[in-house]
């Protein structure tokens, strides 16, 4: 029975007669964590750490709240779900992922506490002056932009200098300003940093300008506000807290407001919260009875709303309202939030309570989470090596300089550079900047740091950002990751972990909504012990069921395949026992839910479609099923429902409703039938239902139902058990008084209500059970198969029960028949330990049998594959105990791991289990709020923008429409991104190091005085013009293999997992190559021009041009795909370099004037250049050629096959290489 998710919905208050303060658990969607972790629950009452709760001064209040919005870094967790909040805070051992807290948490009830006056905000209805008198609340204008014209410069700079590398370059630029150390011209030394800062600043400014523009549009929208007893149009930004607003159909709400009245006489308003949480179905909101009839145009409304401080919980609100001397409680169902749209309601009137930056939607708009990619972490390690190089080079230079000065100490007195005293006959003049040997050495050291500074590649950071931007652009634009059904593109929310997608080893997937569509379809039912599954086979009728009401034809929007036998039975009425059961069953389905029927016009005026709006797809499916079988829910108001039963309209009074909660795992409704009987209908998960069923009655029905339940769940169907009983009138009275008391209780209401519910939900008799198919998403089995071939382990973590999970596992090819299943399903620590040990023994035995099971390079270990199936209860005993390690060892042996019945916290716990113990990259994919913890825990979190709202998407790094897009995302884009980024980093190290080394070699021949032959402008332009663009373009555009090949051979994903594109070996190889190339560049001209008349600038130009050519040809040698863009950039850069060199040498005030023309006019220059190119690149080329030929990588072979495409051979071998698993 798996419908807990579906039933977890705030439902409308049914009894309008009772002053019922509706309290919905603040995170209806998250009540699963609430159940397991007490900390989670209490977290919602604690002030959010990111929020300025303790601030009382209004001015600082405002500024702080804005800050909290902007400080996205630490507000990420809190912003998305409070369960994460608790999770994040619990970081240490204090909370166990699997821990099951005290079943009865007071968290629920404590939220009922009175709002403390000091923590409340007072809103005088229709009196904005008074409201804003004491505290000035934030206006309704929003500012999502970060900067203003004034603050842009300081703030942007401040933010940019969070990067340590920038500070390094700043320090160097400052050092260079000291006259003692001025190596470069002052301007030239600041250029690179200034350039980088400028580029980033321009980017930020552009983004901010766009935000400014959208803010402006938003702030200037119009809303009608009550001014002097009349509704007038007012700009959004002028709306104040306390004002009364009127919002009409299809309008967007300008601020958070408490509903006062609506066009509906019962005070119902329907809102669409698409902008808020992405859920497209309508939600109902209620105006309070007391304010319902008030017409603000005609009469003055006065009242005081006392509500909590602005917070980011969009599912929670508590306040009370004093109106006409009465005190009324307000809950989340009485508030409508900014960004929602009014639907199916002509107008609604409300009072603004939170405006602008304090509205919940604004408080929730947090930036993308920031993670760092694995590659970048590794890169930082190599940067440390480079720093060590830098320091050692500087040390060498300064020591040599010291030695040189020491050895020439006598001559120093004569040679002109220092003019030490002895130089002068009379000894009157002072020495020229000679500050003693020690200082000279020290200065030399600092100067060499300045000269060699670009050893730490500043441009790398900006290149990486640009490359990631480009990669993200392509991922977003990929048509194969566009979801037609939800019209959603791929989304990149985090820009800095693109390349992690190429290294994933574990995929943790949610099931519902991720593997499956979360579109429920009623498939079969067991009613009264008889299985009606005929509908599964029968074809649906063309027109479906329809009824005539008031001359109009009503037809459900969707029909299900109906079992003709059952239809016949229902038509024949309640004459037989089976008929009675069926009647009750479908009545229960139609009545026991929270679905709101909406009539939708069609092109044919006489036909209307009934669209069932509800928040649970299971319930929708059940109601549609009931409609198909002739029990059509036509109308729901707070007090009654109207059901058309086989063409006959009947009215049922809804006397009470006990909503679903995760402890009871069932919901019940008490209805007064037209025949004056009172019935309790209960539906819920089998595990909870069989406890409350009267076992003495109808034993064979119970038995048969149980049997059918098992059969259904083995088919992968989600099952619900329906039960009912009649209430006698004393019983009803007893219940009603208890219900009323509980409902009006001020403290522990939830607990009391639960007790009342448990009292009435007992001694039920089983009516039947339903089987709902949770359809697999398109392409899921194929996707899983591909991922598996790619050497990625797919673990499924689901809240479903074991049988369902296993059957879904089979249907999506996660499990195959030849797998050995290890099922751990224990109730205690001991048995758990034993099961794990048994499992390990089994796996050892199986692994040992095929003697030569060698894992073929990241590919699935062959042998008998194992599947581990473990449930949440067992996990409680495993996670955070010493068994964790054992489980880890077992789980990693298994090909498939399936965890069922897991709580959200446990999902995160399982991710942590892997993350803590291996270096392997993990990816979590899910769609619901219950996956948020897992998504944030994993290295890469992917949200499915599906049906379950935006919680998962908001906390994810990437979001997409379908599970199957994971395949192109990882195998294609991930592969490319990783390969590109890995290469780019290595190349950037090389590119800067070679330049520095060329400088270094020259310094050895200048008496270690750090003269550079390459003139300073070329040094500056080197990272900016001479070599930056090609690497960026290659980083964005180059593809080592085509999409087709990568999709066809998922094994090609392996290089990323094995870190083949970026590792220490490659780093050192590159560095050795750099050393050789730089030596070639330096020494060929050095030797060729030895003892000649060549001047420094001319040979410097030769060095400059040859460095640039070598650096670009080196890249060209590694480019795999040459498109016109690559060509243009590559050759364009070399041409641009030559032009720059020429321009620099055409400035007469520089010492090197015209040098390039003189040197380029000689044949020697060109022969040097040609010689350098060949000599420098020869070792690399030879190594490449030989290694490609002798030990080709998979990528290499695939590339060759792609080019020479002997497809027949390929296909033949493909059969061989993909053994059916």
């Amino acid at each position: 029975m798996t419908s807990e998710r579906s039933l977890l919905i705030p439902s409308p208050p049914i009894t309008t007669t009772l002053d019922r303060i509706l309290w919905i658990p603040s995170f209806a969607d998250l009540s699963k964590p609430a159940r397991y972790s007490p900390i989670t629950v209490s977290a919602m009452d604690q002030p959010n750490p990111a929020e300025p709760v303790t601030v009382t001064k209004s001015s600082s209040f405002r500024s702080l709240s804005i800050q909290s919005k902007n400080s996205s870094k630490h507000s990420v967790g809190e912003g998305n779900s409070t369960s994460i909040d608790g999770y994040g805070r619990s970081g240490s051992k204090s909370v166990r992922y699997g821990s099951r807290g005290g079943a009865e948490s007071d968290g629920f009830s404590s939220s009922q506490k009175e709002i403390n006056d000091e923590e409340a905000r007072f809103i005088y209805i229709n009196d904005p002056q008074k409201t804003n008198d004491k505290f000035k609340f934030a206006g309704n204008s929003v500012r999502t932009s970060k900067y203003t014209v004034l603050t842009f410069l300081p703030r942007n700079l401040f933010e940019q200098f969070h990067r340590v590398a920038y500070i390094y370059f700043l320090v160097i630029a400052i050092l260079n300003q000291l006259p003692q150390l001025a190596v470069f011209g002052r301007g030239a030394s600041i250029m690179p940093l200034a350039f980088v800062l400028l580029v980033t600043a321009v980017k930020d400014a552009y983004e901010d300008w766009r935000r400014h523009r959208s803010d402006k549009i938003e702030n200037n929208r119009l809303a009608s506000v009550l001014v002097n007893g009349q509704f007038q149009q007012k700009r959004w930004k002028d709306i104040q807290v306390g004002e009364i607003l009127k919002v009409s159909l299809n309008e967007t709400l300008p601020c958070d407001m408490v509903l006062l009245s609506t066009s509906d006489p019962t005070g119902v308003a329907y809102v669409q919260t698409l902008n808020l949480d992405g859920e497209s179905n309508l939600k109902t909101r209620y105006a309070k009875q007391e304010t319902l009839s008030k017409m603000p145009e005609n009469e003055d409304i006065h009242g005081l709303i006392k509500c909590e401080r602005p917070n980011r919980n969009i599912y929670g609100f508590q306040a009370n309202m004093e109106i006409d001397g009465k005190r009324v409680s307000l809950g989340p169902s009485n508030i409508v939030l900014r960004g929602c749209e009014i639907k199916n309601t002509t107008w609604m009137i409300g009072v603004a309570v939170y405006t602008g930056s304090e509205s919940k939607v604004m408080l929730n708009s947090s930036g993308a989470p920031s993670k760092r990619s694995r590659l970048e972490i590794h890169m930082n390690r190599e940067i440390l090596f480079l720093s060590a190089f830098l320091v050692s080079m500087c040390t060498i230079v300064s020591i040599c300089a010291g030695v040189w000065l020491h050895r020439h100490r006598d001559e120093l007195d004569y040679i002109p550079y220092f003019r030490k005293l002895k130089f002068y006959a009379n000894g009157t003049e002072k020495s020229h900047n000679w500050s003693g040997l020690g200082w000279q050495i020290f200065f030399t050291f600092l100067m060499s740091v300045i000269v060699f500074q670009i050893m730490i590649p500043i441009s790398l950071y900006i290149s990486m950002e640009l490359v990631r931007l480009g990669q993200a652009y392509f991922m977003i634009r990929d048509r194969r990751m566009y979801d037609e059904t939800s019209d959603s593109r791929f989304q990149c929310r985090a820009l800095n972990i693109n390349e992690d997608l190429g290294q994933i080893k574990y995929v943790f997937s949610d099931k519902t909504g991720t593997l499956t569509e979360n579109k429920m379809e009623f498939q079969c039912a067991s009613i009264g012990g008889i299985d009606y599954s005929g509908g599964r086979a029968a074809f649906p009728e063309e027109k479906g069921y329809e009824v005539q009401v008031d001359g109009q034809v009503l037809r459900p929007k969707m029909t299900v395949k109906a079992d003709p036998e059952l239809q016949q039975l229902l038509k024949s009425g309640r004459t037989t026992e089976e008929g009675k059961y069926a009647y009750d069953f479908f009545l229960a389905l139609a009545a026991c839910n929270t679905i709101v029927p909406l009539l939708v016009e069609t092109s044919d005026p006489s036909v209307k479609l009934v669209d069932y709006q509800g928040e649970s797809p299971d319930e929708q499916a059940l109601v549609y099923a009931a409609a198909t079988y002739g029990f059509m829910l036509i109308e729901r108001t707070s007090g009654h429902i109207i059901i058309d039963i086989q063409g006959e309209k009947q009215r049922f009074n809804v006397l009470g409703m006990h909503e679903f909660d995760s402890d009871r795992k069932r919901m019940s409704v008490i209805v007064g039938c037209p025949d004056k009987t009172m019935k309790v209908f209960v539906k819920g998960a089998d595990s909870s239902m069989f406890n409350v069923i009267d076992k003495s009655l109808n034993l064979d029905v119970i038995g048969a139902t149980e049997k059918h339940l098992r059969a259904y769940s083995s088919l992968g169907l989600r099952t619900l058990v329906v039960a009912m009983r009649e209430l006698s009138s004393p019983e009803f009275d007893r219940w009603q008084s208890a219900y009323e008391k509980a409902n009006t209780a001020l403290i522990h209401r939830a607990k009391l209500l639960r007790t009342v519910a448990c009292d009435v939900e007992k001694n039920l008799h089983v009516v039947g059970s339903s089987g709902i198919e949770d359809k697999l998403q398109e392409g899921v089995p194929e996707a899983i198969e591909s991922l598996r071939q790619a050497g990625i382990k797919v673990w499924v973590l689901t809240g479903d029960k074991q049988e369902t999970a296993i059957s879904i596992g089979y249907s999506c090819k996660l499990l195959t028949s030849d797998m050995n299943q290890i099922i751990i399903n224990s109730k205690s620590m001991q048995s758990c330990r034993k099961s794990i040990e048994d499992g390990k023994a089994l796996s050892k035995k199986l692994m040992a049998t095929p003697a030569d099971t060698h894992t073929g390079g990241g590919v699935e270990p062959v042998g008998v594959p194992l599947a581990l199936i473990i449930d949440g209860t067992s996990l409680v005993y495993v996670l955070d105990t010493e068994l964790e390690q054992e489980l880890f060892e077992l789980a990693t042996e298994c090909t498939v791991v399936l965890c069922c019945r897991v709580a959200p916290m446990q999902k995160a716990g399982i991710v942590a289990l892997i993350k803590k113990r291996t270096e392997d990259m993990t990816l979590a994919i899910g769609d619901g709020a219950n996956d948020v913890s897992m998504i944030q825990k994993a290295d890469v979190g992917i949200g499915i923008s599906g049906q379950e709202g935006r919680q998962a998407v908001m906390s994810s790094d990437f979001a997409m429409g379908q599970f199957r897009f994971l395949v192109p995302l990882l195998l294609v884009h991930g592969h490319w991104n990783y390969q590109r980024m890995g290469y780019m980093i290595l190349y950037n190290f090389y590119r800067n190091a070679i330049f520095v080394l060329v400088l270094f070699w020259y310094v050895l021949y200048t008496a270690f005085t750090l003269t550079t032959a390459i003139n300073e402008w070329s040094s500056v332009l080197y990272s900016i013009i001479y070599s930056s663009l090609p690497t960026i373009v290659v980083g964005i555009l180059d593809k080592d293999l085509s999409r087709k090949t990568l999709m066809r051979y998922p094994q090609l994903y392996g290089p990323g997992q094995r870190e083949e594109c970026y590792n220490q070996r490659l780093f050192w190889l590159t560095m050795a190559d750099t050393l050789w190339q730089s030596a070639a560049i330096f020494y060929v001209p050095f030797l060729a021009y030895r003892h000649s008349t060549v001047d420094g600038s001319a040979i410097g130009d030769l060095w400059t041009i040859s460095v640039v050519i070598i650096v670009n040809l080196h890249l060209a040698l590694d480019i795999i795909r040459w498109s016109w863009i690559t060509h243009a950039v590559m050759w364009g850069t070399i041409v641009a370099t030559c032009i720059c060199v020429i321009i620099i040498d055409a400035i007469p005030s520089l010492p090197g004037y015209w040098a390039i023309f003189h040197i380029a006019g000689t044949g020697k220059f060109w022969f040097c250049l040609l010689g350098i190119v060949v000599v420098a690149l020869l070792p690399r080329f030879v190594l490449k050629v030989f290694s490609q030929f002798l030990s080709p990588s998979d990528t290499q072979i695939a590339r060759e096959a792609e080019k020479f495409g002997n497809t027949t051979e390929f296909i033949r071998s493909e059969v061989e290489m993909n053994p059916p698993l």
């Binding site: 062959v862 094994q1051 001319a1098 690559t1126």
Partner: protein, 441 residues
């Protein structure tokens, strides 16, 4: 499939209204039948009609790409854009129809859809050439380099060999024996006779022009302090005479008036002079046009005259005639082009006569320049020139070596290819195929 059917229907409708001849361009467009199982969506296909027949067209046809198509270049993206309306219309409507929705609102639906537009760029399918280092290519490259390099090496070696060079180190020999302990004292003293006579023998015929160089060793003209100690502004124009801030320690005289040309470089101008004679007949040494024309014209002003130069207590080197503008002071201009390396030559002048083999040349040297203080050497060099410059075997040898190495590599690669061939793109070499344990059925 239903999808495609609709597209076909639409295309068919179009075809009926379309005259069969759609124009040259259209006809030239290559249509390929696209393979089933291609990884492109069915929706990606573009349905058009051609010559009255419906054609299914792979979207990549528009500009080549993953699927190798042989379309004429003219058909590629850029030019296609400009094709007149009629054709665009066909394409637009057919594309619109295929994307989504039904019937008339198809194009509207398409516009609202977030579906990324197809373009070869965004789908990363730009036509690209994918060079692969096949053995054939590799061998060709090696042989090619070898074939290019060896002749060049030989040519430059010959050229270098042909250069005749006379090098004479005279710094020590030109110091009288009694000063051999105190060479610095000798050179600094104003009383000593610095004239020194040397005899050089011409080994081979030296065709004119014979270049006269002086070569200094161990002289760090590239020392940071030295290089910086100049003012290019001052050299260019008399207006910037006072611009001596970069010239320390030779910026101004004691009383503060600027030195022109300022700076250490100018100050340390080489001042040895050479007089040549063969058989007592003086050899004319042309000192004209020894500096770069560009320097004379633009870098050294014709209105800048030496001022306060070498007036201090310290004499660094040559004095300049203060009545000649800097642009005419070619020795200075040559000297101011600071050498790249601590051993360097500077052009002194040209002898515009052939020097016969075994001729004895007498050189009268004024040994003024103080290289003794820092242990430097002075050499006089007479050299002819060739297209490769002066005498330097390095390039020739290097080219020969590299060329030889490449040939050797070509041979070894051929051998390797013969001994251990590997068919390109053979999937049996893939890592997951190499291991026999990988197969289990």
């Amino acid at each position: 499939m239903e999808y495609c059917d609709r597209q076909v229907r639409i295309a068919r409708r179009k075809c009926c209204h379309q005259p069969p001849n759609l124009g040259k361009r259209k006809r030239r467009a290559a249509f390929v039948v696209w393979e089933e199982g291609d990884d492109l969506d069915l929706q990606e296909a573009i349905w058009t009609c051609k010559n009255g027949q419906i054609q299914r067209r792979h979207p990549s046809i528009r500009s080549g790409g993953e699927i190798e198509t042989k379309i004429e270049k003219r058909e590629k993206e850029g030019k296609k854009r400009k094709i007149p309306k009629k054709k665009d219309l066909v394409e637009m409507t057919s594309k619109g129809a295929m994307s989504s929705g039904g019937g008339d609102d198809a194009s509207a639906a398409r516009r609202n859809s977030k579906k990324p537009q197809y373009s070869r760029f965004t789908q990363q399918e730009l036509p690209a050439c994918k060079p692969i280092l096949t053995p054939g290519w590799v061998i060709t490259i090696f042989i090619f380099v070898g074939i290019i390099f060896i002749p060049i090496g030989l040519a430059s070696l010959f050229a270098s060999e042909r250069v005749v060079e006379i090098v004479d180190q005279y710094d020590k020999d030109c110091v009288p024996n009694k000063y051999s302990e105190d060479m610095v004292g000798f050179i600094q003293s104003s009383e000593t006779n610095k004239t020194c006579s040397r005899t050089l023998t011409v080994p081979k015929l030296m065709k004119s022009p014979v270049y006269v160089y002086y070569q200094l060793d161990n002289f760090y003209q590239n020392h940071r302090r030295y290089v910086k100690s100049r003012s290019d502004k001052q050299l260019r124009s008399s207006a910037y005479e006072k611009d001596t801030s970069t010239c320390s320690p030779e910026a101004t005289t004691a009383d503060g008036s600027p030195i022109v040309p300022c700076g250490l470089i100018a100050w340390s101008l080489f001042n040895d002079t050479y007089g040549f004679s063969v058989n007592d007949k003086a050899l004319e040494v042309s000192k004209k046009n020894i500096a770069w024309k560009s320097d004379q014209d633009y870098k050294f002003g014709s209105d800048v005259f030496p001022k306060n130069f070498q007036n201090g207590s310290l004499i660094g080197g040559a004095k300049l005639n203060s009545s000649i503008p800097l642009s005419e002071q070619e020795d200075l201009i040559v000297w101011m082009r600071t050498a790249a390396l601590p051993t360097f030559r500077k052009l002194y002048g040209r002898i515009e006569e052939d020097l016969e083999a075994n001729e004895k040349i007498t050189v009268e040297i004024q040994n003024n320049y103080n290289t003794y203080a820092f242990g430097g050497n002075k050499r006089l060099v007479l050299s002819t020139t060739s297209w490769i410059g002066g005498k330097n075997d390095f390039l020739g040898v290097a080219y020969l070596l590299v060329g030889g190495l490449c040939l050797f590599l070509a041979i070894s690669f051929i051998l390797m290819y013969v001994i251990k061939p590997r068919p390109l793109g053979d999937p049996s070499f893939l890592s997951w195929n190499r291991n026999p344990a990988g197969h289990f059925n």
